[in-house]
């Protein structure tokens, strides 16, 4: 079967058995479509379109949304296929609808003119007409939405959004796309940050085909970003005729400027389209491919270009000023006018034209309005992205705002030529030799004396050319052309001589271009340092000049001299790239920073200022401010840790501030860094204060009496002689034995059974036990801190975080021992076998169960205190405490050994000190054991659980993307567990006391937030500066409040809306914590159920019992912290304030007690 027969014949007889066969293969539309796209080759698909255009299954896919059915857009209509098939199909569809496309192109030209002339309402009417004729499109939605925003018609915008919502129906995807594309024009000030954030959000959240589509459809166009057009076509062929046509044009332009694209599809598309439409992209690519030599050379265009080439800038501005509204609308005119206007006074223009030209001048000059103007023009480009004129503007901005390397430069230049309507000599850049010759011949015939054409055809020999043509050219321009010609002829020394002069001329644009070429010439001749000096000196005058240079080439040359160089220009040049272009040379910057210091024989940047004497103050200040930053210094071995890096940076900031450099910004940086250091120290203080027991109670007058009485009794007894007593004899003998063998430190390991103690020994043991009990279990004792600062949420939360972050644990079903399915991983690992899926579900449930059991074991069994003394050891049920690590049990021998250490002359204080030292020694033994068990046993058990899960799932699901993702997730969880476990281990060291003299309450809040891993909204009437000794207690208090909100709300953390309000009125400081919670059916009943905690609050007996434990103990601990540890008088109210929110309010009447004395008047 040959395809080249006429359509009339095709319809009259069944000449398409293949298509007929497919059409009759099923009565199911999608199946038939799938078969058609599968069974036909690309060309057959193209040919089939005309045949199928009225077929019930294909009509909609070919007529493409003619009926304004927005809700059908992006619905699956045409099956996915290869790029080639999609392109051929699209060309078939465009051919069938060629009249509509022609109408669209005419209207598009009118729309551009209307926008540039500010005829916005007429423009909206044109778009309405377009919708009526061709059907609704994303293209038209974008333009209409942008115009409504541009004219500030908010009501119309809202009405339009509502209309789009209605048209979208149930199709939420198109509704969302329509919302975004119709809202592209935003406030210029926020445009760039918004656009960046939106793009990174999309990149982070999506991948694959959807990511491609969203990048194509919604984000600011980046001509250098590769896009997968196969995937884009698969979506766009299910949109509208206009959108499909635009997709073809975008693809043609993209594929022409990117290597590796299927040439046959492009040639086919251009050949077909060039016969149907006059469009610059199509005709330019056709010329480029040698398919067409049909150029129209306009005398008006050439006279404009020649005027500019001669340097007659005023004439250009005048002509543009005098042009009628429908004249000189091509982007090239705007570019030439703006370039001219940088040399002479700007033309007087009104409306959008005037704003655009003004902004182009700012960008070309890189003046103080550069950023605003760039943002404005980029916003316009994004808003009117579908219009060719704005694509050309966008490409111009790409050249001006980015430091492009050679290949990127070439790509952008070629794209600009492809989009351009001007048949200027610039076209020669994209034509092959044969086509170029035809172009020159035809152009010479049409415009015989064109200066631009002469320069273009002689550009490589210009320096050896003497022609009358050249005498017309303005002096600086001519020098630039000759310099460029010498550079292209590789006559670098001659080029350098000309360019060195030109790089300091008054003509801003020529100066920029000459400087850039000069850097290139220096690089080519191996004059690395000269290149860096030229680049840096220019850029330090105005940092935006960076975009005039190929900074990658500059960094590459800097890299070659970094190891040996003592010049500050090396790190400064690379830093300019890192700050303004990208992070590609960050490693080299780190290295060059280090080598600059080492080669100059200094350790730190401010060690010896004489190393800077040969440089201007400007460059030294730049180096210190922008190159000596923590990210650059982080690998430098003379700065051993982050604290040293921060200290170094602070000293640099202070030095610069003293010289009035970037004062405001650097003072803020110093504050931020100092705050970070204080937080670090405070955090460390908190971490190091978890293991503590307040021993001051043994010395304070009020609390020591009970021990003194016992001590006095012991002293009286000890004055008598007990040598004849059996116990004394035995204990003394063993003591001598232990002492001789240097085993006294092991005294706690020996219990001597059936040895009744005499009164003296018995009294000492009792004294010891009393002190031990208060040391271990007192209100400010060891167990209180262990419970509040480790067991109460901290440890479980920290160990759980790594598996929660990777969603490896699943939730329990309420009131059941079963687990909910882990939808995240079950979705990723899905296979078509229910039994296997059930086993995977069980593996995750089992993992959760065992992981929680391990945490429970550590928290509730290991990290407990045991103090089973000899007298009760046989009575006790030891099961519950058998694994307790903190052992404060006292035996008769240990008591005796300690007694022997107390000199007969010692007073109460000396004796207590000895006992407390001994208690801390016992604690240290337990702490060592705790660190060991956590580091080895706990780590191994938790890692083993992860390993088992990984192995089990891998065996069940086999090698799959899901299993690979799980492997990655477990890898991350393992790394995080190791870090978190190290953090937990670091808690088990003895407190070193207060290192922070005073602190802002924000620091305590931040540490509590970090510990609870929760977001908290903070409202504060003023700052509160507190005494350093209170830091740990305030953190404890806040942590308990936050943790209670998390654990009692029964809501995920993200839904908690936790807020903390701090205010003071008439010397009463009010702390209010509010959070959302799972809705209670009856607020009164729910509040009544809390009555126990209200009545128990402050009850000494209950309080003692509860502060040592976990679970339902939060309010008891709050009381203990406020009343006993901080000595704060207060009242508390708590309860449900609505059915789904809970509040705790604490009013403190003597808050000044904890304030830093300097802040006492707050």
């Amino acid at each position: 079967m040959q395809w080249g027969i006429k359509m009339a014949k095709m319809r009259t007889s069944n000449k398409y058995p293949k298509i007929s066969g497919i059409l009759y293969s099923s009565n199911d539309g999608p199946k038939v479509k799938a078969k058609l796209f599968r069974d036909l080759n690309a060309y057959e698909l193209y040919k089939s379109v005309d045949y199928l255009k009225d077929h019930r299954f294909f009509r909609d896919s070919i007529r493409l949304n003619k009926n304004n059915a927005l809700h059908k857009m992006y619905g699956v209509s045409c099956p996915r296929s290869s790029l080639e098939k999609s392109v051929y199909w699209a060309i078939g569809v465009i051919e069938v609808n060629k009249d509509l496309i022609s109408a669209f192109l005419l209207k598009q030209d009118r729309i551009i003119s209307q926008i540039l002339n500010g005829d916005y309402f007429e423009c909206l009417e044109t778009i309405d007409e377009l919708d009526r004729v061709v059907g609704i499109s994303a293209w038209a939605i974008t333009i209409r939405g942008s115009i409504l925003s541009l004219i500030g018609d908010f009501d119309a915008k809202v009405e339009y959004a509502r209309h789009l919502d209605e048209l979208s129906g149930e199709n939420t995807f198109i509704s969302s796309i329509a919302k975004h594309i119709s809202s592209r024009y935003v406030d210029v000030d926020v445009f760039l940050p918004n656009a960046r954030s939106f793009k990174s959000q999309i990149t982070r959240s999506f991948d694959g085909a959807l990511l491609n589509l969203l990048l194509y459809k919604l984000t600011v166009k980046d001509y250098l970003q590769p896009l997968d057009y196969e995937s884009i076509f698969n979506d766009e062929k299910n949109t509208s005729l206009i959108d499909l046509f635009e997709c073809v044009l975008n693809y043609l332009a993209f594929s022409t400027c990117n290597v590796g694209h299927d040439d046959s599809s492009r040639v086919f598309a251009v050949t077909k389209l060039n016969k149907l439409f006059r469009h610059p992209i199509i005709s330019n690519i056709a010329s480029m491919l040698g398919l067409s030599c049909d150029w129209e050379f306009m005398a008006s265009e050439y006279s404009f270009i020649d005027l500019y080439t001669e340097g007659r800038y005023e004439d250009i501005c005048r002509l543009f000023e005098q042009a009628a509204p429908n004249e000189l609308l091509d982007f090239q005119y705007f570019e030439i006018v703006a370039k001219s206007a940088t040399r002479v006074s700007s033309p007087r223009l009104s409306g959008l034209r005037g704003k655009v030209v003004g902004s182009l001048i700012d960008i070309l000059e890189k003046n103080s309005k550069y950023n605003n103007s760039l943002s404005f023009l980029l916003c316009l480009c994004h808003s009117f992205q579908p219009l060719k004129w704005f694509c050309e503007l966008n490409l111009f901005l790409e050249r001006e705002r980015k430091s492009l390397n050679d290949s990127e430069c070439l790509k952008i230049r070629n794209l600009s030529i492809i989009y351009s309507t001007f048949n200027s000599p610039r076209k020669l850049y994209i034509l092959d030799q044969t086509t170029s010759n035809i172009f020159i011949e035809k152009c010479s015939e049409a415009i015989p004396d064109s200066l631009a054409l002469f320069l273009f055809t002689h550009k490589e020999q210009l320096h050896n050319t003497s022609s009358e043509h050249l005498t017309k050219i303005e002096h600086n321009r001519l020098s630039k052309y000759i310099g460029k010609s010498l550079l292209e002829a590789e006559e670098y020394q001659s080029a350098i001589r000309i360019l060195e002069t030109l790089a300091s001329c008054d003509d801003t644009l020529i100066c920029f271009e000459a400087s850039s070429m000069l850097v290139e010439a220096y690089i080519k001749t191996g004059k690395a340092l000269n290149a860096l000096i030229q680049f840096v000196d220019k850029c330090l005058v105005n940092h935006s000049f960076v975009y005039n240079y190929d900074t990658s080439a500059i960094c590459d040359i800097a890299k070659t001299i970094a190891k040996e160089s003592t010049s500050i220009y090396v790190p400064v040049a690379i830093s300019l790239h890192s700050r303004y272009i990208d992070d590609k040379y960050d490693s080299v910057l780190r290295f060059s920073f280090e080598m600059f210091l080492l080669n100059n024989k200094v350790e730190l940047p401010l060690d010896d200022l004489s190393i800077y004497t040969n440089y201007t103050e400007n460059i030294v200040n730049y180096f210190l401010e922008h190159a000596c930053i923590p990210d650059v210094m982080k690998l430098y071995f003379n700065l051993p840790n982050t604290r040293a890096i921060d200290d170094c940076r602070i000293s640099i900031c202070n030095y610069l501030v003293s010289k009035n450099i970037s004062k405001e910004h650097l003072i803020q940086e110093v504050k931020d860094r100092a705050r970070k250091i204080v937080i670090g120290a405070a955090y460390k203080q908190i971490e190091k204060s978890r293991i503590y027991s307040d021993t001051s109670i043994f010395y304070n007058e009020g609390s020591r009496n009970k021990y003194i009485q016992l001590f006095d009794k012991y002293c009286t007894l000890a004055s008598a002689n007990y040598e004849a007593y059996e116990d004394e004899k035995s204990l003394s003998e063993i003591y001598t034995l232990f002492k001789d063998k240097d085993l006294l430190s092991q005294a706690h390991t020996l219990f001597i059974l059936k040895l009744p103690l005499n009164e003296k020994n018995s009294t000492f043991l009792t004294l010891l036990q009393r002190i031990r009990d208060d040391f271990a279990y007192g209100d400010k004792g060891f167990n209180y801190y262990l419970s509040t600062r480790i067991r109460h949420g901290h440890l479980p939360t920290t160990l759980r975080k790594c598996v929660l972050d990777e969603q490896l644990v699943t939730k329990k079903i309420a009131n059941s021992n079963n687990f909910k399915p882990n939808e995240y991983w079950l979705g990723k690992l899905w296979i078509y076998d229910d039994k296997v899926m059930d086993k995977i579900h069980k593996a995750f449930s089992e993992f959760t169960l065992k992981y929680e059991e391990e945490i429970e074991t550590i928290n509730d069994k290991w990290l407990q205190i045991t103090s089973l003394d000899q007298s009760i050891i046989n009575l006790s049920d030891t099961k519950s405490k058998s694994e307790a690590i903190f052992d404060f049990s006292i035996g008769n021998f240990e008591s005796y050994a300690l007694q022997r250490k107390v000199p007969p002359t010692s007073n109460y204080a000396e004796c207590v000190k000895l006992i407390i030292d001994w208690l801390w020694q016992r604690t240290d033994i337990s702490l060592h054991k705790a660190r060991e068990k956590l580091s080895v046993t706990a780590r191994q058990r938790l890692l083993d659980l992860m390993h088992s899960l990984q192995k089990e799932v891998f065996l069940l699901s086999g090698e799959s993307q899901g299993a690979t993702d799980l492997n990655d997730a477990i890898g991350r969880a393992r790394a995080a567990l190791n870090t978190n476990l190290e953090q937990v281990i670091s808690w088990f060291t003895r407190s070193e006391g207060s290192v922070v003299a005073h602190y802002d309450i924000d620091i305590a809040i931040e540490i509590a937030i970090r510990s609870a891993f929760v977001k908290v909204g903070i409202v504060k009437d003023k700052s509160y500066n507190l005494d350093g000794s209170t830091l740990s207690y305030i953190v404890d208090l806040l942590y308990i409040l936050f943790e209670n909100a998390i654990s009692k709300s029964h809501l995920p953390k993200d839904f908690l809306e936790l807020t903390l309000k701090l205010s003071s009125e008439q010397n009463v400081v009010k702390v209010v914590v509010t959070n959302k919670c799972l809705e209670v059916s009856d607020i009164n009943i729910a509040n009544t159920q809390l009555e126990y905690y209200r009545t128990s609050y402050g009850n000494t007996d209950l309080h003692r019992k509860n502060i040592q434990g976990e679970g339902g103990t939060g309010f008891f601990k709050i009381y203990n912290i406020l009343k006993n540890l901080l000595g704060l008088e207060h009242s508390i109210q708590f309860g449900y304030i609505t059915n789904n929110s809970f509040q705790v309010e604490i009013n403190i009447t003597n808050f000044e007690k904890v304030l830093n004395y300097e802040d006492i008047n707050c």
Binding site: F591, L635, H947, R974
Partner: protein, 150 residues
């Protein structure tokens, strides 16, 4: 033989160390470092290692009580490590052993990294092995590189 392992994962480090002893002999001298900085510093001080086995994602500093999280974590610490080796003209053979199948949310594959490293660090980069604790594939690949080099 002297090998430097730069790896912050306790479990992985232990398994890899055992395996190297298994295939290269118990006499193999293995030095362990746990961060980008400490690894690099070790190599600058002692540039006589026969191999460096390098993780891709490492903390900047060794984890200790002053640097509880090891400073900023670096997803491409392996790349930075090799870039610094390149700049400092250190040429000890490097094998990357990573337990991640891709980076940057899947946009950088292991194959991309292999190509990049072969191109940029051909003087010392000798291979990238994907470590998966539940299979032994990584062992074969690592052995193949280590043993073929000897």
């Amino acid at each position: 033989m002297k090998i430097l392992i730069v790896e912050d994962d306790y479990d992985k480090k232990k398994i890899v160390t055992n395996y190297i002893h298994e295939i290269c002999g118990i006499g193999t001298e293995i030095t362990e470092r746990e961060s980008l900085r400490s690894g690099l510093m070790e190599l600058i001080k002692n540039n006589d290692y026969d191999y460096v086995i390098l993780d891709m994602s490492l903390p900047n500093f060794d984890i200790n009580e002053d640097e509880p999280g090891g400073g900023t974590p670096e997803s491409f610490a392996g790349r930075e490590f090799m870039e610094q080796m390149n700049l400092r003209e250190l040429t000890c053979p490097v094998i990357i052993l990573t337990q991640y199948s891709s980076f940057e949310r899947g946009s950088v594959s292991l194959e991309d990294l292999r190509n990049e490293f072969s191109f940029n660090y051909s003087k010392f980069y000798i291979g990238l092995v994907y470590y998966n604790a539940v299979t032994d594939n990584w062992k074969n690949e690592l052995a193949e590189i280590l043993l073929s080099e000897n």
